[in-house]
Amino acid sequence: MIQISDLSLTAGNFRIDHLNLDLREGVFNILLGPTGSGKTLILESVIGLRPLARGRVVLGGKEIQNLPPEKRGIAYLPQDLALFPHLTVRENLRYGLRAQEKTSAEDENHLERVIEALKIRHLLERHPQGLSGGEKQRVALGRALAPSPRLILLDEPLAALDPALKSEIQQLLLSLQGALRFTALYVTHDLEEAYLLGDTISVLIDGRIEQRGPREDVFLRPQTAKIARFLGFRNLFPAEVRPSSPGGGAMAIAVWGKEIILPREQAAAGLTAGERVILYLRPEEVLVLREGKPIKEILRPNILEGSVARILDRGAYQWILFRPSGMDISLEIHLPNYVFRNLSLAEDQPIRVAMRKESFWVMPDEHIRPKP
């Protein structure tokens, strides 16, 4: 376990106070946050490039926050890769081994494994400026991994790549991680990338870790509306936990002028009766009902009637804006293309939609209940 605890630092007007972050070994730990949330500051302080006002960084059971960067055993891969242009690929790869005076047969074998895993043997005598974008990424990864660091920090290394190359390098990162089992702290603002690579995801907003956990927890069960908004969730509605509990592990939520009974596991922990909350409805889980088709009993309590306000073809799916009758709200619905074709939907068409209980998620509204 790599522990970053009680970390505090200031950079201009930006502050990070008492931040705690535990990293699992042998996996990708994702630090996910919007631009300006303090991700790079944390990275720089973990590497040792930025002094801490206070805090501890424990790596391998040893406090390293007072060590210079070269003594920490943490490799750094910046967004621009910073391959040394005056050195060949081989010299770039060997830089860390030379600097750390690692000359054992084991070190050499590890370097060979890295070169093989990255498939860069044919590039060894070339200079970085003659390499393609993907080759540069591979060499930079190899340079970071060659001296067997205890931790590798990656600062949005794929942010500037085109989608095809980004996908290729993501696959490479996953296979490389599988082969070498290195521990990584990977900083990104890219949600898809975080989900694809992340074993553990920490959401950083305004210098605070808002949520940390397995990727499914973060993406399917955000603990606050702030996180949900950062993750791009759109169907967020103000609601309230009813004072009277239906019992049996269920809770009653007042929303859209009606009451929805939801299983307790469809809500964040710690909600109290009468609390104002935010209800999230997953757009890909909303069912558009076909006229004349029988409706399952389980769906009957949560059916809304209305019309299609807008349809956008998003390529991978169809984006539908649904306006329920008599309500001042809109719902976003994501339909698979084949379902959309079968339904033959058009704008202004009256439709009925149904929502399963599992399609909802309830979380506290941080505007009303600030985090302690």
Partner: protein, 258 residues
């Protein structure tokens, strides 16, 4: 006329301005006596003195200016803006004023104490080196800082994360990458030192075979109305300077590793 053409015309106007100055020297230059004057002991002494003093001044400027340039390029520290501003002092201050300031300094107790240690500056060879150093050190630091600014600090950050100390990261990564820019800066400053007159003459005087540098020799020849000698000395000085500047251009033309 388009903006582009106007700008090219301006560049050629400047070129013709300086070319006309050189050509005017050549029209008055009779050619006779050139080699005799070049081989004359006092000319050779002046050339040797100028080159030696300028080289020492440039070495000193690099020895102090390079670490200073690194600090100004990479670090934020208290008083950085003040230090940065003072570096431009020699650019805005007349060289004679700079020389006078040095002369006055060596008449203070601190200056006399320094001279009493055995190194005499006033009207002596070390005075030439010091005057040239004072003239070029700020410029050298500024130019070297510009060369270092062009190398992203992330190279050093990565090098340090791979196990290099701050010094090793500078020596193995930043220095080789900035080398051409640094050498250009040194050559330019060296050439400026070779041509330095005001501060040198004020602090070191004009004694033949002692403190008479090339620019001083030109001044002395002109003062004694020896125009042919003046022209020949100017041509020699211009030749040294232009060779140095051309060397800078050659450095720029070498294939980039970047």
């Amino acid at each position: 006329m388009s903006f582009f053409k106007t700008s090219v015309l301006a560049a050629f106007l400047l070129f013709f301005f300086y070319a006309a100055l050189i050509l005017s020297l050549l029209t008055a230059f009779e050619g006779k006596g050139f080699w005799e004057l070049l081989r004359a002991p006092e000319t050779l002494f002046a050339i040797r003195l100028s080159l030696t003093a300028a080289t020492l001044a440039a070495i000193l400027a690099v020895a102090i200016g390079l670490p200073a340039a690194y600090a100004l390029s990479r670090k934020n520290f208290f008083g950085k803006k003040v230090v940065d501003t003072i570096l431009e002092l020699p650019l805005i201050m007349s060289p004679i004023a700079l020389g006078a300031a040095l002369l006055i300094f060596f008449n203070t107790r601190a200056g006399e104490a320094i001279q009493s240690q055995g190194i005499l500056f006033v009207f002596e060879f070390p005075g030439i080196v010091l005057a040239q150093f004072a003239t070029i050190a700020g410029l050298a630091t500024r130019l070297m800082k510009t060369a270092l600014d062009e190398i992203t600090p992330r190279y050093e950050a990565v090098a340090r994360s791979l196990g290099s100390s701050a010094w090793q990261a500078f020596w193995r990564i930043t220095f080789p990458l900035a080398f051409r820019g640094l050498v250009s800066a040194v050559i330019l400053c060296w050439a400026k030192a070779v041509g330095e007159f005001g501060a040198t003459v004020t602090l070191a005087g004009t004694m033949a075979f002692k403190t008479e540098t090339m620019p001083t020799a030109i001044f002395m020849a002109l003062a004694s109305a020896d125009i042919p000698k003046t022209i020949i000395l100017i041509l020699i000085l211009a030749g040294i300077g232009l060779t140095a500047l051309y060397a800078v251009r050659l450095l720029d033309k070498r294939p980039q590793v970047l």
